[in-house]
Point group: C2
Chain length 369, copies 2
């Protein structure tokens, strides 16, 4: 179970089968003299990843088999879930093998096709990873319509991050008009969509982000209030921004932001747990006391719901509805997005490491070609 | 919001109004020379309650007003939630005032009625608290049919505890055939019902209880496996009893039982949080490290649902269905129950204190008259 492929299948036939996108590493059939630059996992990080955990290699460009296409990557999506794939801790998805290609969603151009449904020049959403060229089964890519929206949105507001926001909010958070929705990492592609969807659904949206530029951006895109999580008086600011408490907390972060949010959760609050980016590089638990039972006690006292999810779970049932609603919102400007595009595949490791520290501002993409 | 009255209203008209059962303390209209023994809250306990936190007084027997009835208590229900009412920590229900009557569900006999729907001799379910006589609005009691089932079941398997099990399991736990359901405090009226309902629904039921007699009882009533939580190798025994992991954990207890259950929760596990009796007398949190984020991380990784609830929330919609299904189950023996009946209102404090330590064996009731 990976994070992206079933989103791709969800948007298509809906057979329920998991997509198994074959990427080039290890299945290459040399068909060219050109090289295929790839970034692979050199070693598993302990704590924060460093440049040394990645290695760049040049592999042959693979040849597509029957029903497959060769894709030249234009954009590679970098997302926090990839940190999980670098570790071999138990997870919802198998880890990347040491020496294996780093996985990731991509937008690319078909350069060779052995499938009647796709032709060279078609732009597709695929899951071909951190490399210049990849092979995929045609049934496991989604052809994009560049006239409908910029193709990069298939990796952001109209892609996995946007769908994650939509699924978590509509299936778990279920904000009612007038309720208060709080989201952290709010200038990122998931968080920004959560806040704007909350507004579309008639709720009050409060965003938490790092630094004055991101906080200012949240107000620009319509959040009712925005708070800098670096403020020493975060709890007081959050209290001032949520005078009626918090009904939905869309959890992307964990750590000290959670500690500020937790006491303000209302009776019947819903907490979709989508990510815990502040924890991904943690190597040990914080000191005591152990507050687990304080959390359980609050869950009981307030009849709260805490629910972890991966968008996979909802993709088959909900992707069509999402695209039908969200494409018009993006086109009419009621759902805004921001991209942070870094040029060059070779810069992906540094950009990825920075993202885990919140250095990106908007959906982080690598322009590969 | 109290725990019982809306159950009573839920079983009736369903106006959505909260029941406000007037009990005798402070609203008495002396109509008799007989006394009314009451047990009141003398002081708030710090940690484990003691006999000194209660006081016994003799008040006048109250007179019912228009639309009210005077009820002579036959059975008083003792339940863990009452520990919460003794404290003034924030909760879903207001605390009992110091000097106020201890609250509680009762089965009693109408001795005087100012309502055409009820006559002296009728046996009713009410919420008149720890006293010999109470006054209630006729609209806030439920007339029992002693021929249908023993009247004490209205306080147990067919009352709030049984309904709590039914609501938590059908609305949150939702066990599927073949899944594994684990419940702690499994010989109590909620836990025993949870396990038997799980079996009725086609799931595997594993119970955790304290001591060999209770463990043996669980096997008698059909649990697939039963474990003593006092066993030093609880985690290993639980692993052996749940070879396919745990899909539903009905949480009544918290503490070390939670710690044993937590690692065995499966992908998409559901945890209805109904009670945390092991925590109710706690005066401080356990030592570190703080495992809150380990819990959140597991919720994320396993797409788990943790959901606190009070049966109140489901009473209006679900009580009718529950009684319709559960009365036949009780009558045909597929839903068994066990009562632990203590004679004499004066023994209620000691019985209650013992219950918090797991000294009762089955639904704890005080026979008042």
């Amino acid at each position: 179970m990976r994070q992206w492929p079933s989103y791709l299948t969800g948007a298509r036939a809906g057979s329920g089968a998991r997509a198994e996108v074959g990427y080039a590493a290890g299945m290459a059939d040399q068909n060219s003299d050109q090289g295929n630059t790839q970034i692979r996992l050199a070693s598993r990080p302990a704590g924060k990843p460093g440049a040394g955990n990645f290695t760049t290699v040049t592999a042959p460009i693979p040849s597509p088999g029957d029903g497959q296409v060769l894709i030249r990557t234009r954009y590679l999506s970098l997302d926090p879930y990839m940190r999980g794939r670098m570790s071999d801790a138990p997870s919802y998805a198998p880890p990347v093998k040491v020496g294996g290609l780093m996985v990731g969603g991509t937008v690319g151009e078909v350069v060779e096709s052995n499938d009647p449904g796709l032709a060279p020049g078609d732009v597709v959403l695929a899951y071909t990873g951190w490399q210049q060229y990849g092979v995929a089964n045609a049934s496991h890519v989604r052809k994009l319509e560049p006239g409908q929206a910029p193709v990069t949105t298939a990796l952001g507001v109209l892609g996995m991050p946007g769908f994650t926001a939509y699924a978590g909010l509509t299936q778990i958070g279920r904000p009612q008009p007038g309720e208060t929705v709080v989201v952290a990492a709010a200038s990122g592609p998931v968080g920004a969509t959560v806040g704007q969807l909350a507004k579309i659904f008639g709720a009050r949206a409060v965003g938490i982000a790092g630094g004055p530029a991101k906080v200012a951006y949240l107000s620009e895109i319509g959040f009712d209030a925005a708070i800098d999580h670096r403020a020493p008086d975060l709890a007081e600011r959050l209290a001032a921004a949520t005078p009626d408490g918090i009904d939905v907390y869309f959890e992307n972060v964990g750590g000290h932001v959670w500690n500020a949010v937790f006491p303000r959760l209302n009776q019947f609050a819903r907490v979709p747990v989508c990510g815990l980016v502040a924890m991904y590089n943690a190597t040990s638990l914080p000191g005591g006391p152990d507050r687990t039972m304080a959390l359980m006690s609050a869950i009981l006292r307030k009849s709260m719901t805490i629910r972890g999810f991966i968008q996979d779970e909802f993709a088959e049932a909900l992707t069509g509805e999402f695209l039908q609603r969200a494409v018009p919102w993006v086109r009419d400007g009621s759902l805004k997005y921001r991209e942070d595009i870094v040029d060059g595949l070779q810069n992906a490791p540094e950009a990825f490491i920075g993202m885990l520290d919140g250095k990106n501002f908007g959906k982080l993409l690598i322009r590969v070609s």
